[in-house]
């Protein structure tokens, strides 16, 4: 692979990771966060492949991405049961209400 092709491939991979990371941290919905994480992991796998990492490293990314998805979906289901929704704004507002205020002393 030429260095120009490598650089452009790496730029795409890093863009996927950064885009996925920003979306995962800012998305207003739990399922969208999980989908954004998958995007970031695709970018990570792509960058490892372009940088010549061994096959074991790519397999590790796949395993980690799968585990994140499985646990993420489980948490989203429990959120739906406990809060009646998976919108992060609603979750934060409900937590604010649940939090007891410290009495004045």
């Amino acid at each position: 692979m030429t260095s120009a092709a490598l650089l452009s491939g790496l730029a795409l991979a890093v863009a996927l990771v950064v885009g996925g990371a920003v979306a995962a941290l800012t998305a207003a919905n739990a399922m969208k966060k999980i989908a954004a994480l998958m995007l970031a992991f695709v970018g990570a796998a792509l960058s490892l492949a372009l940088l010549g990492a061994p096959g074991g490293a790519i397999l590790a990314v796949v395993a980690i991405a799968f585990a994140h998805t499985a646990i993420g979906v489980s948490i989203a289901v429990r959120l739906q049961e406990a809060y009646g929704g998976v919108e992060t704004g609603e979750l934060d507002a409900a937590d604010e209400e649940d939090e007891p205020r410290e009495p004045e002393t």
């Binding site: 991979a13 995962a24 941290l25 990570a44 960058s47 074991g56």
Partner: protein, 469 residues
């Protein structure tokens, strides 16, 4: 079996928690499952302590693992013992799964600490992190814990993706996935960039400010078992891993300057932000998490000095911090309530828990005759020796801030009357506060007679840097 363990003790330390997790999950009875988990962790702690005392290093030139792995194994065993009292917070059918997840946290961080290559390190970190998120969700006492678990998953997932990219850079720069290959990095700039990304990802998992977006929600709403394993084993494991990677980079002359600058900046920021947040916290578990961020900043500053003395100081402080966290979080498990007002009058209602909170707070302040004082002293000594006066100043600032938030805890314990809502800590399993008391005794005992700890840290530094500290 015994012969294999004697020859490969560190493999045994990794395998024991995972084996214990499988057994704990298969036992449908909560208390029996807890006993099986405890046995596995005591076994792992015994093997790790024995290997460390016999100076069996997991890898050449890796003193960080030789010091941190036994510490982590002992902490996990103490947390599991104290966690027996926390099982009543959850349904009996859930308890075996919670114990299995707790063991996976211990096993994951141990695996990452003892791994010789980057891929094993990443897999260990993610195993521990995902188990932590699942345990926070499973051991919820308020539904807010689920929100905390989601934040852990999202921010931890971002950190995982970044860490994998960083590992790719490092592997490319060193033409190897071995951590020891850092010493032979061909492309220093690419290697430093990769290491910085890996360290930022680990900092997020160690709850260092300002990257600890998950900590408030996770610690504020989850149960005692999850908060102890996450706060004592998880945060200490991630911090130990940062110390290991930072020291490995500091030992490579071509990488040292860049990585040390990054660690110093991150450490200073964590001290300042963590201290302010700890002073404003209204929940003991959140306060402990923010105090950890502040004190962990001092550990990173020690590593950033790049000297054997700085590295040894980092290990002493890490030990002190782990003991203080166990004392604080264990005591909140005894009160069944993590709000600050639950500490009111604790010194009269539950003297042992009151003493643990007091000693933990004093150690965080760096008060004389505590292990925290020794750690802070060694940091200032190493910083002045290296001519980094500003590091000494920031370390003193961290102690000053700790006087405010630690003093607030002590004032609550001994100088306030108990509120009617916080008098429900009668419990037949009170003996389970023993590990918390043990942490307090360690914090004082090793502060008065620190020769064992100093010798262990000096030996680890000599291993890491290949000479006398």
């Amino acid at each position: 079996m015994i012969g294999w363990l004697a020859a490969h003790p560190w493999q045994g330390v990794i395998v024991a928690p995972f084996l214990g997790a499988a057994v704990a999950m298969a036992i449908p009875h909560a208390r029996l499952s807890w006993a099986a988990a405890l046995l596995a962790l005591i076994g792992a702690a015994f093997i790790a302590a024995d290997a460390s005392l016999r100076s069996v290093a997991p890898h050449p030139a890796d003193g960080a693992s030789m010091f941190s792995a036994p510490l982590l194994a002992v902490l996990a065993a103490l947390c599991a013992f104290a966690g027996g009292g926390a099982l009543r917070e959850m349904r009996a059918s859930v308890a075996p799964f919670a114990m299995a997840l707790a063991l996976c946290i211990a096993g994951g961080w141990t695996f990452a600490l003892l791994s010789a290559d980057w891929i094993g390190l990443a897999l260990g970190v993610e195993t521990a992190w995902l188990a932590s998120a699942a345990l926070v969700a499973l051991a919820e006492v308020k539904r807010g814990a689920l929100n905390g678990a989601l934040r852990m998953l999202a921010s931890g997932g971002v950190a995982a993706a970044l860490m994998l990219v960083g590992i790719g850079f490092v592997a490319r720069a060193t033409s190897s996935t071995e951590i020891a290959a850092l010493l032979n990095a061909d492309n220093a700039a690419l290697c430093i960039a990769g290491l910085v990304v890996v360290l930022i990802a680990l900092a997020l998992k160690a709850g260092l400010a300002p990257l600890h977006v998950w900590a408030g929600a996770a610690f504020g709403s989850t149960g005692a078992l999850a908060s102890m394993f996450l706060g004592v084993v998880g945060l200490t494991g991630a911090l130990a891993l940062m110390v290991r990677v930072g020291a490995a980079a500091a030992a490579a002359p071509q990488l040292a300057t860049g990585v040390e600058a990054m660690l110093a900046a991150l450490g200073a920021a964590s001290i300042l932000i963590g201290s302010v947040q700890a002073m404003g916290a209204a929940n003991v578990r959140r306060l402990a998490a923010y105090a950890f961020a502040s004190q962990a900043g001092c550990v990173l500053l020690s590593v950033s000095l790049g000297s054997p003395a700085g590295f040894a100081a980092a290990l002493v402080q890490m030990f002190a911090l782990a003991a203080a966290m166990l004392a604080l979080l264990g005591a909140t498990a005894a009160t069944r309530d993590a709000s600050l007002q639950a500490l009111d009058g604790l010194g009269r209602r539950h003297p042992v828990a009151g003493v643990a909170v007091t000693v933990g707070a004093l150690s965080l302040m760096g008060a004389p005759l505590t292990i925290g004082f020794l750690g802070r002293w060694r940091l200032i000594e190493a910083a002045v020796g290296a001519g980094w006066w500003w590091v000494a100043g920031i370390a003193l600032l961290a102690s000053l801030a700790a006087v405010f938030y630690g003093g607030r805890l002590i004032e609550r314990v001994y100088f306030r009357r108990a509120a009617s809502v916080a008098t429900l800590d009668k419990d037949p399993w009170r003996v389970l506060i023993a590990p918390t008391l043990a942490a307090a005794i360690f914090a004082i005992g090793l502060g008065v007679e620190p020769s064992v700890l100093l010798e262990a840290s000096a030996r680890a530094a000599a291993h890491m840097f290949g000479g006398a500290p």
